[in-house]
């Protein structure tokens, strides 16, 4: 059964390799992609069952035990994230079947499926890596694939956004690789567990080198996950991509950098002297900046998808802030928020895609009365907006509640206050959208066939249903994550 840990990344990789071989004609690429994601979801579900009992899987690739070979580590944390990411992916792939095919030419369409699977493989690889260089390789896979699914759309703004993203990713990759080489220089290890034992001695002999390495790694992964002053690539990239691609990029791909830093801190740095452990405090300051400035920018946007993209900057801030509190309850909230935001932002971008697909309207001001034309789409959009604001009974409320509780428990009322304030801000840019959509007066009479076809609609509503269930009965998930969070913090 342990082989599942490696199959989690190998299945999507194989699917990506199959597309140019077997998926060349018609909708075969779609079928390969859907089958692959189904298999991946099953694999992640099995891993969740195994690791949910509290035992983590350490898999030694090629039977080489850690300091010599590569270790893959799947615990409840990564299994849960993998499972929820594959669920979102399932909805996005099912949605893409109709939305993407008429926008892309056949060659680009073929590679679109392949790149989507590569992105999934890269993300799952990042969340289960336990070796610094292996982490770097999978980071590169997902970054290149993420740029790729932006640039498949043959339009100037997508190409420019993809290039900007690619070049900044290259800077981030350079910082990460330099950080890894500095750490290797003073410790001689790449495996997480061995680094954790070797690092305190290295800090004693060369503290500045370790500190510089940590700073470089934080800069690199912060850039990849759009941490506040390094977020400038995100709005362009996420608003100019195809809607299903935006859903995946904004919902899942930005989280990879956070997950990588999370894992790095929990399994390597937390055992080191205080100087190195100062990283979360630093991240918290930037996170607060992102929550405030991101919200201000989101309020001034006129384009729906750009507004959603800026909202992602804010949500990334939440997750970093809750992580920096270093309290199991807050950490539970942070992990839950990673998943909730993936579900909600995925759903929001897909509903935006439905509206654009049907009416061609992208501007928020044009959406007056859209709820009467497309009620089901608007319901999904409303669930998403409510969750983002954190209204009780939505899943967004559950995660924010845990974040606030954890911050108070850890004696950091300031963090709790910032989280509450930022929720208030999100209401300021999400509520006008909902109110205009339901109660506004449409400028033009409703078109003849308002709603999008069911094959596009049910994935969106499915995500909505999962979010609602998570909001109303969160206990089972919270219990599993609470254990995982305690485990991550070594308590």
């Amino acid at each position: 059964m342990d082989h599942l840990a490696v199959l989690l990344t190998v299945i999507p990789l194989s699917g990506a390799f199959f597309v140019p071989m077997f998926g060349r004609e018609g909708d075969r690429g779609y079928r390969v992609a859907l089958g692959t994601v189904l298999l991946t979801t099953a694999c992640a579900a099995a891993l969740l069952v195994i690791t949910g009992r509290g035992q983590a899987i350490s898999y030694y690739v090629g039977n080489w035990a850690p300091p010599w070979g590569i270790e893959i580590r799947v615990d409840a944390f990564s299994a849960f994230l993998s499972f929820s990411f594959s669920l979102v992916y399932l909805a996005v792939i099912a949605y893409s079947a109709r939305d993407v095919s008429h926008e892309l030419n056949p060659a680009a369409l073929r590679w679109y499926w392949s790149l989507m699977l590569l992105l999934l493989a890269g993300l799952l690889g990042v969340s289960s890596a336990a070796d610094l260089f292996n982490l770097f390789v999978f980071t590169e896979i997902y970054s290149l694939a993420a740029c790729g699914i932006i640039s498949v759309r043959d339009r100037m703004d997508s190409l420019e956004a993809a290039l900007k993203y690619l070049l900044l990713s290259a800077v981030a990759a350079g910082c990460i690789l330099l950080g890894i080489s500095l750490i290797y220089m003073v410790t001689g290890h790449l495996n997480y567990a061995h680094l954790a034992t070797a690092l305190p001695a290295a800090v004693a002999t060369s503290p500045r080198t370790v500190l510089a390495a940590v700073a470089l790694l934080a800069t690199g992964f912060g850039l990849k996950s759009a941490l506040f002053p390094l977020h400038m690539w995100l709005p362009d990239a996420h608003s100019s991509a195809l809607s299903p691609a935006s859903a995946v990029l904004s919902g899942i791909a930005v989280k990879a950098g956070i997950i990588a830093l999370f894992r790095l801190f929990a399994s390597v740095l937390s055992a080191s002297p205080a100087v190195v452990r100062a990283m979360p405090t630093f991240l918290a300051v930037l996170a607060v900046g992102g929550m405030i400035f991101g919200a201000l920018f989101a309020m001034t946007q006129t384009d729906l998808k750009r507004m959603l993209a800026y909202s992602t900057v804010v949500q990334v801030g939440y997750i970093y802030l809750a992580f920096s509190v270093l309290n199991p309850v807050a950490l539970t909230g942070a992990i839950l928020h990673i998943v909730n935001h993936a579900l909600l932002k995925g759903m929001l971008f897909l509903s935006a895609g439905l509206i654009i697909h049907r009416t061609g309207k992208r501007r928020i001001a044009d959406l007056q009365g859209i709820g009467r034309e497309m009620p089901l789409t608007m319901i999904a959009l409303t669930i998403g907006a409510m969750g983002m604001v954190g209204i009780p009974l939505t899943n967004g409320f559950v995660s924010k509640w845990h974040m606030v509780l954890g911050s108070l428990e850890a004696g950091q009322p300031l963090a709790a206050g910032v989280i509450l304030l930022s929720s208030l801000f999100s209401a300021l840019y999400y509520f006008p959208l909902v109110i205009a959509g339901w109660f506004g007066n449409p400028a033009a009479p409703a078109p003849a066939r308002p709603e999008a076809p069911p094959s596009m609609l049910w994935p969106v509503l499915g995500l909505g249903a999962v979010s609602l269930i998570l909001g109303i009965v969160p206990e089972p998930v919270v219990n599993v994550l609470g254990e995982a969070a305690k485990h991550l913090l070594g308590q």
Partner: protein
């Protein structure tokens, strides 16, 4: 002053790195932390465990073969992304595909040189476990020979020699070959990408067919890299 943030970032990184430089272990020392038991293990045990004289190849294709699979995937991703970008309809400006040369000397010399380059490329791939080189360098040399053809005879004739569809299929098949070798380890009752631990015969050290799965993986990587280089250059040259 438009570049002020960029300059600040560069200066900040320069300052941080300058600080580390003054306390870094001395260059070329024999007792630096990086020369620890991990490195000694590779150097002392590798000949018995993987059975090839090139330790770097053994690390790439055996100890850290999973990273190399990721690396082959990065190449695959780059080809896919580039192909998807360039497959689109021509933009406003007319694309200028690369033209063929009509220089007779170039044509005749390249016809003579290409087979030799290809033989050398195959040699570097196949003997990668015994001498410097290996799948990546050899595959590049193989791909380079076809690049020479492309540059002299133009994209149109190259596309007739190697249809773009073949290139893509080869790309996927060679990458999947890596996965297959990895799954072979699982079928033999060991872990993914296991070599000697799965009971793959290592052969006689120093012989051509030695190193077990290392040789198979190296072959696949050679084909993969050659296909990647050709695909990339053909796409960038236009006219596919």
């Amino acid at each position: 002053m438009r570049h002020l943030p960029a300059l600040l970032l560069v200066v900040a990184i320069a300052y941080v790195l300058a600080l580390t430089l003054t306390e870094a272990p001395a260059f070329g020392g024999l007792d630096v932390p990086a020369r620890n038991e991990v490195m000694r293990f590779y150097l002392d045990e590798e000949l018995d465990q993987a059975g090839i004289p090139n330790t770097v190849t053994a690390i790439i294709f055996d100890y850290r073969a999973y990273d190399t699979m990721g690396e082959a995937t990065v190449l695959f991703t780059a080809v896919g992304a580039a192909a998807a970008v360039l497959a689109g309809h021509a933009g406003k400006l007319v694309a200028r595909p690369m033209a063929a040369t009509d220089d007779v000397i170039l044509r005749i010399v390249s016809r003579m040189v290409i087979p030799f380059v290809q033989v050398f490329g195959i040699y570097v791939v196949v003997y990668g476990h015994l001498s410097p080189g290996g799948g990546f360098a050899g595959g590049t040399i193989l791909g380079g020979s076809m690049a020479l053809y492309l540059f002299v005879f133009g994209p149109k004739r190259t596309a007739r020699k190697i249809p773009p569809a073949w290139g893509e299929i080869m790309e996927g098949a060679a990458a999947f070959w890596y996965v297959l070798v990895g799954l072979g380890g699982v079928l033999l009752g060991a872990n993914f990408l296991a070599n000697a631990a799965a009971g793959v015969p290592l052969g006689v050290q120093g012989q051509l067919f030695s190193g077990g799965a290392i040789w198979l993986i190296g072959l696949g990587v050679g084909v993969k890299v050659a296909a990647t280089i050709v695909n990339l250059l053909v796409h960038l040259a236009g006219e596919t």
